[in-house]
């Protein structure tokens, strides 16, 4: 039974992981630092009135997206959610475009048509999310279905939260993926709260158990360990490509900020927040890398510089032209499928994106 203080199961491994080189492990930290730094900068811009609408971040759960996305190959496809910014960064979306997107500028990925993290660069193989959750689980299932029908060695990954496991689309997607044995990886970010609703109001069983009910593997992972997340995703991808069907990865983590910038999360017990602060994913990865002699301060400085430059460039960009507001409802030319994204993991360096 899930509680407020859910512990990660034994799936989380603290020490060296076989499939990661040092560069890989630095990449993971880099992605998390960039995510956090960008979100902090965007939050500041939000408080300056420069980001319209609402602002969401994944503070404290950066490892969930960084680790899982790192295991995805260039031809794999991703449905990324609002607390998974690191996944976009790993695929190759630049910080300038992300900040432009938050500020509703013309240079944003959606050119002002959708806000905050409701974006996906189609050229990098990412599908932009909708607000109805977890609709994207079905889209990812469908992508996996196409890969299987065509006999392609590719998989799809989708993220969703504890709250959305209560909706019908979760069950339809899990069932469909299980029945058809599809190469899809379902990443459940169990961060303990859906807005103000704690998990004990959301499900009566730990959702990882549902994988079995739908006929496939479910694993619980320490969501604040980027390398454990990577390993779980890598293994799930291996299973998928071998034709063994879907995996549900329950990433246990904690939402360290409110639901959105306008939420001060008063409903979360202080002790819970304090407990999880000790398990900050970035601090953990930095600790590992310091032991390997990596210059963490240098890395942080270069990331800050990168973010500063991106902010300056994004702030200088124009707002979208109102005359274009009604354009683009329909595709007028040929339908272009999603393109391939970056896949920095060393395991893909050899041809064919091998496991």
């Amino acid at each position: 039974m899930a509680t407020h203080m859910a512990e990660p199961a034994a799936g989380g491994v603290e020490t060296t992981v076989d499939h990661l080189t040092v560069e890989d492990r630095v990449w993971l930290l880099r992605a998390m630092l960039l995510m956090r730094g960008l979100e902090e900068r965007a939050m500041s811009l939000y408080r300056q009135g420069r980001v319209p609408g609402s602002f969401y971040d994944g503070y404290g759960q950066e490892a969930v997206s960084a680790g899982a996305a790192f295991a995805m190959g260039p031809e794999d496809r991703l449905c990324i959610l609002h607390r998974d910014l690191a996944a976009h960064l790993i695929r190759g979306v630049t910080p300038t475009r992300i900040l432009s997107q938050y500020m509703g500028r013309a240079a944003g990925i959606t050119r002002g048509r959708d806000g905050n993290v409701h974006f996906g660069d189609r050229k990098l193989g990412c599908v932009g999310m909708v607000s109805m959750l977890p609709d994207m689980m079905l889209v990812a299932t469908g992508m996996a279905m196409a890969f299987k029908l065509r006999g392609e060695k590719r998989c799809a990954m989708t993220w969703f939260g504890d709250g959305s496991t209560s909706r019908g689309d979760f069950h339809e997607a899990m069932n469909w993926a299980g029945v058809q044995k599809l190469p899809v990886i379902f990443v459940l970010e169990n961060n303990q709260y859906a807005y103000s609703t704690p998990v004990d109001k959301q499900f009566a069983v730990d959702p990882v158990e549902r994988a079995a009910a739908y006929g496939f593997v479910g694993v619980t992972v320490d969501g604040n360990d980027a390398e454990a997340m990577f390993e779980a995703a890598r293994a799930a991808r291996e299973r998928a490509l071998a034709g063994e069907g879907p995996t549900l990865i329950e990433a246990v983590t904690m939402r360290m900020h409110g639901h959105a910038a306008h939420d001060d999360m008063k409903y979360v017990p202080k002790e819970q927040v304090e407990e999880w602060r000790k398990r900050d994913p970035i601090e953990r990865q930095e600790k590992r890398l310091r032991e390997l002699g990596i210059d963490i301060d240098g890395l942080r400085a270069s990331i800050k510089a990168e973010i500063d430059a991106a902010a300056e460039e994004a702030l200088a960009g124009p707002m979208p032209d109102p005359a274009t507001a009604v354009d683009g409802v329909f595709c007028e030319g040929e339908a272009e499928p999603l393109g391939d994204g970056q896949a920095p993991w060393s395991g893909f360096a050899s041809d064919g994106g091998a496991v």
Partner: protein, 414 residues
């Protein structure tokens, strides 16, 4: 401390902490005017319905002024303070959110395609005219009061005004050269010369003299006959010509059988003409009337006659007739029917021996007999043709026969 004149002032505004938040309260200032502040450092604390939070400085510089004191609640977007960012400060100067940035194109929103100005629904007494009826009437210069309506409650339908247009006359009335111009009558009629001490124009007096002389000269009688115009009506609609054209052709054909009607009597000299030079009386409004002539009208078909009638009537009204146009007529038709009058006693146009009067066509109940000899009542469009004839040259029987032939011709139009 005042900022130097070369400084740029950057606003610090109340942010919107959540989509539904409209205002916030300043609960703390971390700076005073004159203090230096770095970008991103906290400059103020605010409280809103949703959350209490810090406001980071948007720029590095010197605080120029604080506009909203602690405890005051202001709308989202209100300027709370200003920071002077001087030259060489090295700080980034972020552009404001509202997009007044270089490169933001000013565009006008696309205007929606203009809708046509709606026609006003015009009321004429109890009558309302629909937009399309109005439009067609305006295009053809038609007075809708003249158009009979066959729609519900007698309203003028599109078909009614179109039929009116096609025949240039009311469907149950006849094209008449007496019909005034569509434009205001005052414009069409040139005012006649003013005569001292007299009220009649010269033309009016001339016409009067001619008419008097005719009555003094000829032994004028008038005979009438009723004609069922149903076939003419449908042929007319099909060909798009006036009923007058059909009547003209019918008269010409009847003259073939009764040539005595196509003659001149000048004193003792009696001349029958083989050519039918058909005179058509045209009303000139206050100026009276004139009778231009279609020479050799017997050579024209119904459509040809219609065209010539239209032409001479138009030229008559616009005063473009030549003296030749009014000479040589051998038979005249007068057609003042659009006002609804049914019979008249026309005066013969000297030196001719007869004149045919064609008045209104009116729907009447009539007795019809079928092939088996059974009688019933039917509604038919009927007209009464009147022939005034000179008893010096003709007699009643001849005149009646002529009229009967005209009737037969009209009632057998195909």
């Amino acid at each position: 401390m005042s900022s130097s004149p070369t400084d740029v002032l950057v606003d610090v505004t109340m942010p919107q902490m959540g989509v539904s938040v409209a205002e916030g309260t300043v609960v703390g200032w971390r700076v005073e005017p004159g203090d230096r502040i770095e970008a991103e450092a906290t400059i103020a604390e605010i409280s809103t319905d949703k959350i209490d939070t810090e406001v980071p400085s948007p720029a590095s510089g010197v605080v120029a002024e604080i506009l909203v004191p602690i405890g005051e609640t202001v709308d989202v977007g209100t300027v709370l303070a200003r920071i002077a960012v001087g030259d060489g400060s090295g700080a980034s100067q972020p552009q404001p959110l509202d997009g007044d940035t270089a490169g933001a194109p000013t565009t006008e929103t696309k205007s929606s395609s203009p809708s046509p100005a709606p026609a006003h629904a015009v009321r004429n007494g109890d009558r309302r005219y629909s937009p399309v009826v109005q439009r067609i009437a305006a295009e053809h210069g038609i007075d809708l009061a003249q158009v009979p309506g066959t729609g519900r409650g007698g309203r003028v339908r599109k078909q009614d005004v179109l039929a009116f247009v096609e025949t240039e006359e009311p469907p149950l009335h006849i094209e008449s050269p007496y019909r005034p111009e569509p434009v205001a009558p005052a414009a069409a009629v040139a005012p006649g010369p003013v005569v001292d001490g007299g009220g009649l124009s010269r033309m009016r007096r001339q016409i009067g003299e001619h008419m008097k002389r005719s009555l003094d000269t000829a032994a004028t009688c008038t005979t009438w006959i009723e004609v069922d115009m149903a076939r003419v009506q449908s042929a007319r609609a099909r060909l798009g010509v006036t009923a007058l054209a059909f009547v003209s052709r019918a008269c010409i054909d009847a003259i073939r059988e009764h040539p005595a009607l196509n003659a001149w009597l000048e004193g003792d000299r009696y001349t029958r003409h083989t050519d039918v030079n058909l005179g058509i009386a045209v009303s000139l409004g206050d100026d009276g009337l004139i009778v231009p002539v279609i020479p050799r009208a017997h050579e024209l078909s119904v459509e040809g006659l219609a065209a010539r009638i239209k032409d001479i009537a138009g030229r008559a009204r616009s005063r473009q007739l030549t003296p030749d146009d009014v000479q040589g007529g051998t038979f005249t038709i007068t057609n003042p029917g659009q006002y609804g009058s049914i019979m008249a006693t026309p005066i013969i146009n000297q030196p001719q021996v007869a004149i045919l009067d064609f008045e209104a066509v009116i729907k009447r109940p009539v007795v019809v007999t079928d092939a088996d000899g059974n009688d019933s009542i039917a509604i038919r469009p009927m007209t009464i043709l009147g022939l005034s004839w000179d008893h010096r040259a003709l007699d009643g029987a001849l005149s009646a026969q002529f009229l009967a032939t005209v009737k037969r011709n009209l009632e057998s139009v195909s």
